[in-house]
Symmetry: C2
Subunit: 278 residues, 2 copies
């Protein structure tokens, strides 16, 4: 494991590390923000999953989350959005399939299965690595944006007990029912749509054994709202399943990091309350 970036930031350290991932079978990068509190003791960790086309860089350069992580004593861990490298399958024509578009699933189809296991990487391998090498105290929460919002919801719903809290900005809540999700799940999991249900937040709330409240912020001026995101489908699913949901529609806000930056302090505070609870 090699540190490839180190910057002082809000009294703590913004770092980027490179390591060989066993789950993904390739070299991966992740960003980690260590707040000032991590110099003297251990801290809980908030995992952030980014959206289509992103790397480990987008959130840490654009969201301004480090200020609030420093205030609340949280470590931020931000993985890349897919396996990477020349030996890794890709769809060079598409921004929404292949590298940069892992969708946080474990692929089953021949072309993708060797490397595209972002769920196992995010839920198991990366936390193991972080908790072994950094001053993390073992408490975890998860959040993300767009495809990463889908990832955060699915990781939390599939793994009861693993996360203290979950939230999302502008998530793909029903990948089985929208073009981005149909393309990606069809490729990674195959044409049998019943296999997609295990990776779809709207389906998973019906079988969740842990009632972890879902906190979601969604911009009303989001250019992907009506075709790709459809948050009302999650509202309906949560109502039917009795799953707790707080969905906040934000007038005027779009899909960009300007939206994430405007409300990330509320998400950090939400996770800090859960992560610092006794």
């Amino acid at each position: 494991m090699e540190r490839v970036e180190l910057h002082a930031c809000f009294g703590g350290k913004q770092e980027v590390w490179s390591h060989a991932s066993a789950a993904l079978g390739c070299q991966m990068r992740f960003a980690i923000y260590l707040p000032p509190q991590a110099q003297a003791g251990t801290c809980p960790v908030l995992y952030w999953l980014s959206g289509l086309t992103c790397t480990e860089q987008n959130f840490v350069t654009k969201a301004g989350a480090q200020r609030y992580a420093a205030e609340h004593g949280l470590i931020l861990v931000v993985p890349d959005t897919s396996p990477r490298g020349e030996g890794v399958a890709d769809d060079a024509k598409s921004y929404d399939l292949g590298q940069g578009a892992g969708f946080y699933v474990n692929a089953t189809q021949a072309q993708w299965a060797a490397h595209y296991r972002m769920h196992d990487y995010v839920v198991q391998e990366l936390p193991d690595l972080v908790e072994a090498h950094f001053p993390a105290n073992g408490a975890r929460s998860i959040s993300g944006h767009s495809m990463g919002g889908h990832g955060a919801l699915v990781c939390a719903l599939r793994n009861p007990g693993r996360y203290r809290s979950v939230s999302a900005f502008s998530p793909i809540v029903a990948p089985s029912q929208v073009p981005w999700g149909e393309k990606a799940l069809g490729a990674y999991l195959g044409p049998d749509r019943s296999a997609w249900q295990a990776w779809d937040a709207c389906a998973l709330v019906h079988t969740a054994t842990e009632r972890l409240p879902l906190l979601i912020d969604q911009g009303e001026a989001d250019e992907f709202l009506s075709v790709q995101l459809k948050p009302h489908l999650l509202s309906q699913a949560c109502a039917a399943a009795g799953h707790p949901l707080q969905l906040r529609m934000r007038p005027g806000y779009d899909h960009s990091y300007y939206f994430v930056a405007s409300f990330i302090h509320e998400h950090i505070a939400h996770h800090a309350r859960a992560l610092h609870a006794p």
Copy 2:
């Protein structure tokens, strides 16, 4: 003048505009943040000048300044760092000369003089445009980073009465005495070094007729500190000239926007005090 971006951000609007610049003889872009207070009345303006290789994008996507501008009711205006376009002279081999490296001077040398008039653009044309088309109340302050820190100091020192306050992050304080400045001033102004003095903060403090205090933050781990920035030269010049200077050395911080983001709230508050003073 055409708006090319619009994003809701911290209750206000982050916009990017494109316009034909008379001073520069080319199409230019600038970013403008309009805080919530600008919806109901006029606000003062903080101009931000960016560093080498930057466009109007870097500061508004990475510094997190909009939160503080919204708190204090300031408009932020962020120009590009040079004239642009196919008809504009450039040095394709260099990141530190030509497009992306205007150094905020008015060039006198034949190759550059037609377009490279960033001083007049920043000090006169852009404020005229902003004050004609946006709810700006005429009060101005100026700040910047690296080459843009040099630009902010020089614009303020050359134009007494035009700015209420000035600050800089990691500025080039003595371009006449460091490699970046010697290359750029030599190209834009010619080999006669006496002509460079009118564009060098360390020289200008000796002839300044207005004692506007200079606020500077400088990271001690800045990779350009000892060769390009040399803040001690400004300390010495200000001491000799009796010019007020607050130079804050910040242990551990480098030259990146992680440094700017960590302390921009203090600069915004500094400018807000001056801009809102009766």
